[in-house]
Symmetry: C2
Subunit: 374 residues, 2 copies
């Protein structure tokens, strides 16, 4: 990246570009003769060979073995992608299609992410992933505590921005009244609305305890404990709300010859299944960043994926980051297609009709959970 690409002559650039594109298309090493005939390089194979030898010396190309053609190195792909992105003139052919696929009465953020992932995977033929925004950026705009029985209640949290709903079931070591829970509801809404996970601190809890004690007439210790347990639950829930990752099109991995190699495939599936690694890797990306990020080969933070490429972009809806979408595939990836798909997709979502304009009576599905209280 910091490599000085300007030392490359125009001819070298065009040869490199042609090699990358041919390799993406064919999946095989490309030779000088092919470039001359099909690659639109107006020089003899000998000249091309000389250039290729130099490009190899510079680290842009690799040769699997003596009598094979060249394949792009990671640096070669990186060069290609960088120039591609620079001249990138969104090939708009498929925009309408995307719109149609996405526009099916989208209501829920989850559904949007899920559909976007499906569409991305289907259109590019690679495995796609989606990620929720990270916990620290989440705030709750409304709380509701629901009384269940003397020893348990449920907190319903509605996230600001995305309007996600998450619930948490809390079981207590002491008994409480339905009225106290109503009051708790009030306390939560007064003190914790709009507060991010980082802003939850002790002094806030002390205030909450005091408020609850004053207005309920309950025992001080009980109030303190109730608040403590409740806030802890909320804290954990907010943490879980963020950074959820989902995959789509796993089976498409198998369609690409690079994953016929069972070792690579195994690595890849393990990486995908463990999730944590990928979340961690992707979490380093600035969440407000609008750029499409491309990690080629060893640039990937997930060591295990070091011969694959991850293309990744934050998704915004009405200006708010609602998550991110990514494509995973071999380094030999149709970058142009993937980039255009992802960009189109994110644009489409960004411009999606505000949900206030939903058809009347729309039922907005939310989510579900279990808790084993009994």
């Amino acid at each position: 990246m910091s490599f000085d690409t300007y030392e490359l002559s125009d001819r070298k650039k065009s040869i490199l570009k042609a090699i990358v594109e041919a390799h993406i298309k064919l999946g095989e090493p490309v030779g000088s003769k092919y470039l001359m005939q099909e690659g639109n390089i107006p020089y003899s194979s000998a000249t091309i060979r000389n250039e290729m030898a130099e490009l190899e010396g510079l680290g842009y190309l690799e040769q699997p073995h003596t009598s094979a053609g060249r394949i792009p190195s990671e640096l070669g792909y990186r060069f290609y992608v960088d120039t591609l992105v620079a001249q990138y003139d969104a090939t708009t052919q498929e925009a309408g299609q995307l719109k149609k696929l996405l526009s099916v009465k989208q209501a829920e953020i989850d559904k949007i992410l899920e559909n976007a992932t499906k569409v991305a995977s289907a259109m590019t033929n690679y495995t796609a992933l989606s990620l929720r925004p990270r916990p620290s950026s989440i705030t709750i705009k409304k709380y509701e505590a629901v009384y269940l029985d003397p020893y348990s209640f449920i907190i319903v949290m509605i996230a600001g921005g995305s309007d996600s709903v998450k619930t948490r079931n809390i079981k207590l070591p002491f008994s409480i009244t339905s009225d106290l829970i109503k009051l708790l509801s009030q306390v939560l809404n007064v003190f914790l609305t709009g507060i991010s996970i980082n802003e939850m601190n002790i002094s806030l809890m002390v205030d909450m305890e005091k408020y609850l004690e004053d207005n309920s007439g309950e025992d001080k210790k009980l109030c303190a404990e109730l608040i403590s347990i409740t806030v802890k639950g909320i804290y954990e829930t907010m943490n879980e709300l963020g950074s959820e990752i989902k995959f789509e099109g796993l089976n498409r991995l198998l369609e690409h010859p690079e994953y016929k190699n069972l070792d690579k495939l195994q690595k890849m599936i393990s990486a995908i299944e463990s999730k944590e690694d990928i979340i961690k890797a992707v979490s380093t990306i600035d969440q407000s960043d609008d750029e499409t990020k491309i990690f080629i080969g060893s640039e990937n933070m997930v060591k295990i994926m070091d011969d694959s490429t991850l293309i990744y972009k934050n998704l915004k809806l009405n200006g708010k980051t609602i998550g991110a979408i990514g494509i995973i595939g071999p380094c030999r990836m149709d970058y142009s297609k993937v980039l255009s798909t992802i960009d189109r997709l994110s644009e489409e979502i960004n411009n999606m009709s505000s949900l206030d304009a939903l058809p009347p009576g729309t039922i907005i599905k939310t989510e579900e959970d279990d808790n084993g209280k009994q």
Copy 2:
């Protein structure tokens, strides 16, 4: 199954058993010589050969090609499993381990299922799956409608038995008041508590409309529409609550030589990813059934999985079916291990300390959801 296994002599049985076990262990066809030397069959290879030829004639064995040993046919596996299950004397070595793995303050049904799946996959080295009970058996024991703004509210539903919490966000084409939502809450609790999805009918809705109209003084049409939209949402939500399927240990598929065959692997991954097929297949199993079900090869209802085995068992907690767990792998599966693991696991869960006995202050995590209202 209805095949008359009693026509087999003891010697044939022991040979068949030895072949199945050797094949499970080695993953390769087994020959007469091997059985004589390693398989603990006290006859000469010639005698064994004769018996094998007969077993093949009876359909219990197959020969990949002339000069290969024999492998068990589906019928052979079925015989093995049936007798295995019959004499099945739970090899208890790993029971303690299971207990430890599961006992980490289990609170949530989801978590129990998830952990059970992980444990099952880890201990057997096969891919495991878990399934929620089906929708028709779910009832809601408590509703709570949460007012959001004049045009939207959220319904919180707490499932009976499993105490799952699910929420649904509803957007209205007309405006409502916070008080009306409170009343709606009441209506839902009065009319829909304990009602299964099959019992929701028109007359119930008419009653609800009437009740709401009488007690709120709102316009009749508005009440009717509110109830209709709400019930529809609840209905859909209950449907979604059931039959959720999750997988664990996908990467372990790759560890078994039968899935080195990319075709099989691809089929398998597709089957797993599409989910619906497997849900449909498994749904035919009686939910209250306590037996461990074993589907070998073409016995599987998912055509695509017709050279794999699915072992499947309902899980109960305090007498209630909370879901099911399954193991998927090649027909050449270590049945003894898998069966014992699944049985242990289900027993362990069944006996799990009632959640009332949870340590005080336990926070019972529930779940989350999105809805794109905005």
